[in-house]
Symmetry: D2
Subunit: 295 residues, 4 copies
């Protein structure tokens, strides 16, 4: 009989991760707000659950990959929340992008309930999730990290340990997302400056992303920003704004002024205000820079 | 007999470039504000000149690598300037980091004098210059680019052509420098955020520079910023500030709002105001972020 | 027998307001976190209460003047909260500086409890409170505004009606506080610019505050900022930062980019990070500007 | 016979000032780039001049009120410039809004020519100029200030002495203009925040400008910004941007970071980029804030 794992959250990222676990021989107890998504997994290695609590019952590991702090908190401590059913010593592998404060709070609540919490946010787009190429940042209790490691190894290319604090890995994730959106803004500014001076945005992007900035972020987003390639919508501006808010909030709670975080927060807030929340964040950022430049 | 080239400006970059040309068999007519620097080249393949005009006399190519727009303009149009002596059809290869407006102005003046101007700014630190690993951006007249190419090939690993406008290559150089300092600021913010949350700056830097941001800029400056490694002084804050001013000025003349350029300009202006102009710009940026964070 | 009013919060502002009500013939049922403050009122027209609920029992009006949203929410809906005891139709006159969202939430909860809520934030420093010179902004239900009016008239020089929404008056209060701190920052920048150019900060301040900017804000804060008069501590930087956070949060929930709100938020966050939270906000802002300027 | 005064620059401000001098019994030697403007003065107390030099010949005082540093410098040191003709000891009363550096440079040049320079920038709109209600800031040599005083008293309601430095008064003028545009931006942000929360912009503006901010700047611009009253065009956005550039440049040369100056500079640069340079700066600022807010 297959080992069971609880799984909550079948968004773009979660669905690919769930498939990988199934392919690796696990049986998943899955809860998703939109239940029909569970059927799309198209396999009998899945049990469809009506609540987070149901997904969390009788499993050694429960993975959550949900949209934000509020959904995660509700999934954990709400009426049908996982704390109601999670068995002693079971591990909640928390992979969503959330604030470290939420991780710390949940770690305490899990401890009080006799089970365990592990912050495990990831870097990588859905394609990377599908290809088991995620970078997984973890932090928290040593034994918990050791115990969860075999599961995490099935989902990513590398697991990086950021120490013992419950929320440390979330700080790294937020810092990384901040660096990504700052890179996008800075490219949009540089390319639009070039455009206003009669140069080819794409040539400038190609040059930088093959020399000083020859890293994935600059290659993928650089091409999209240079080409004003706003379709199809991959990552929505409103999700980018959510991440910018997380960075801004962390800057507040950390008593840590971050001028560039301010700038990208403003950029994405402006995108939301202009009604571009459902548009790709390449548009939210790139078009914002262009409009301010009068083009 | 060796071919002669005029050469003006033996700073960190220029001195390495001059040596490479000598090693490749050229005889240089060199002018440098501090004349003793010419002697340090330690070779008889050099003629020490008392003025830019003297360096520019009777050569097919004249290279300038000076500190800023003002020095270059004075070298060109001043009393002992190169326009006084440059022979018909000779090419002024202008490799300094200057504003595109200065290139356009000089291109016109050279044309009026019957000779030629080629904007050829470079990317790369002095080590790259010594190793002939510079990236050289050019723009301007086609024939001039073709004629100067053999010289440029001796100085860098690649020559990238940014089209026909006199100042286009300077725009690319300024945009690139802007992206470099923006990357430094964003790393300083991210690492200090991590530090304030109990994480290791260096581990966070290593993680990013080996994954999403595995590009030279993030590896070299990332390590220095994470380690608060402010000695020895490589590139001074006041030079970084000069570049930030160029970016800001270009944003003005291009009618192109650049929020992140504003942020880095403020950071470096603050460094100057605090008296750190002679310190490495890693300190100018990194220490500024730390002090604002109260650490 | 005197009419009774409930009163919660004897801070600098609240204490003066409470005295005015007592002087006008009311008997107050007072709750304050630090109970000894109640004794300082030094009168037998006061009943010392052990909880907000006790203060709210059997009164037609209950005034709250507390430090922030969290304290107010706890005072209202907590275990010993006023919703436990407030009699039918009684009015909660909510004078604290809080977010409009909290007012809207509390208005709903009061309605569900059969009583009433009135947002009534004020402008004016403690001296103005003592002199019944506050400007009181109200918004909400018409009848409630009419009913509370006689009480409010005892506390301020003017009551301004900002319409029917539960949180409208709070928006005005937050906008006003934003304008005050923006004015302080802009004066600090202007005066320090003058100082760095060899002029007298005070003369510049006097000139502006007696001509184009001859309004109270520029006269009082202008003098303090120009004179770097940081003692005694009137309004703490951490309270200023709280107000900046309210403005920033409202800018987020209103989908409304506010560059100057960003700037003042950063200034006060920096003050907090540098450890100046207990210092007057004139220092938090003015010293911050000076230090960035290297003086 | 009437005393002669030289006068250069018949813009909105200059024309009113010239009329006042004529009404006070002076005969003006006037130069204006658009010569037909001189005829509009409609009086025989004027001599129309073909160059600044002609206007400056044989007069004890020469007033300049031109658009910017470049025009002033050209008027002074150009081929037909006033330094060519200004008689010994005559005073150049320089009333334009220019950088202190230009004043310092011109003061030196005048001294070398045996005559005198007095920085005398003014605050007030054209209506104030017409009504002799300007505030005139002066700085420089004591005797020169004393000698020019009778003329200045005919033009404004007050002459404020900012000490002995040649450019001090210009610093005050730039600081004041910065405070005005910062006030406009902060009002636009506050009113739009109110609007997005369902409040009346005008009511909020009226409240603030009759209480905490009851100063001319907030009354006049507040009404215009609240009412989105963008016609007729009084002061063009491109002139506001010019002043923002002066403030920014002074922040650079003074080594003085000014976050709010950055914000207003960006706002006006954006207005220029969007093609609103000829529109009133109330539109340049107010509409910019609104568009960013999606309204």
């Amino acid at each position: 009989m297959k080992t069971k794992i609880g799984f909550i959250g079948l968004g773009n990222m979660g669905a690919s991760m769930a498939k990988n676990l199934i392919d690796s021989g696990y049986h998943l107890q899955v809860y998703n707000r939109t239940l029909s998504k569970v059927d799309e997994l198209g396999t009998d290695s899945v049990t469809k659950c009506q609540s987070p609590a149901e997904a969390a019952a009788n499993v050694p590991f429960l993975i959550t990959m949900v949209s934000d702090d509020e959904v995660l908190r509700e999934s954990a401590v709400g009426d049908g929340g996982i704390l109601k059913t999670l068995q002693p010593n079971a591990v909640h592998i928390s992979m969503s992008t959330i604030s470290p404060g939420t991780s710390e709070e949940l770690a305490r609540l899990h401890e009080q309930s006799g089970n365990r919490y592990l912050a495990s946010p990831v870097f990588g787009r859905p394609e990377a999730a599908a290809a088991r190429k995620l970078w997984i940042c973890v932090s928290g209790d040593e034994q918990t990290k050791t115990d969860a490691r075999p599961i995490l190894d099935l989902l990513g290319q590398e697991v990086i340990d950021f120490g013992p604090s419950a929320g440390g890995a979330n700080v790294v994730k937020i810092a990384g997302n901040f660096m990504i959106m700052a890179s996008m803004e800075m490219m949009a500014e540089a390319f639009t400056l070039a455009e206003k001076n009669g140069l080819s945005r794409m040539q400038v992007a190609d040059f930088f992303s093959s020399t000083l900035f020859n890293a994935p972020i600059f290659q993928s987003y650089g091409k999209a920003l240079a080409g004003k390639q706003y379709q199809p919508v991959g990552f929505k501006s409103k999700l980018g704004y959510k991440d910018a808010r997380l960075a801004f909030k962390l800057s507040q709670t950390s008593e840590m002024p971050m001028p560039i975080a301010n700038a990208v927060h403003s950029r994405l807030l402006t995108a939301i205000a202009k009604g571009w929340g459902e548009n790709d964040w390449v548009e939210g950022i790139g078009r914002g820079v262009s409009e301010d430049a009068g083009i």
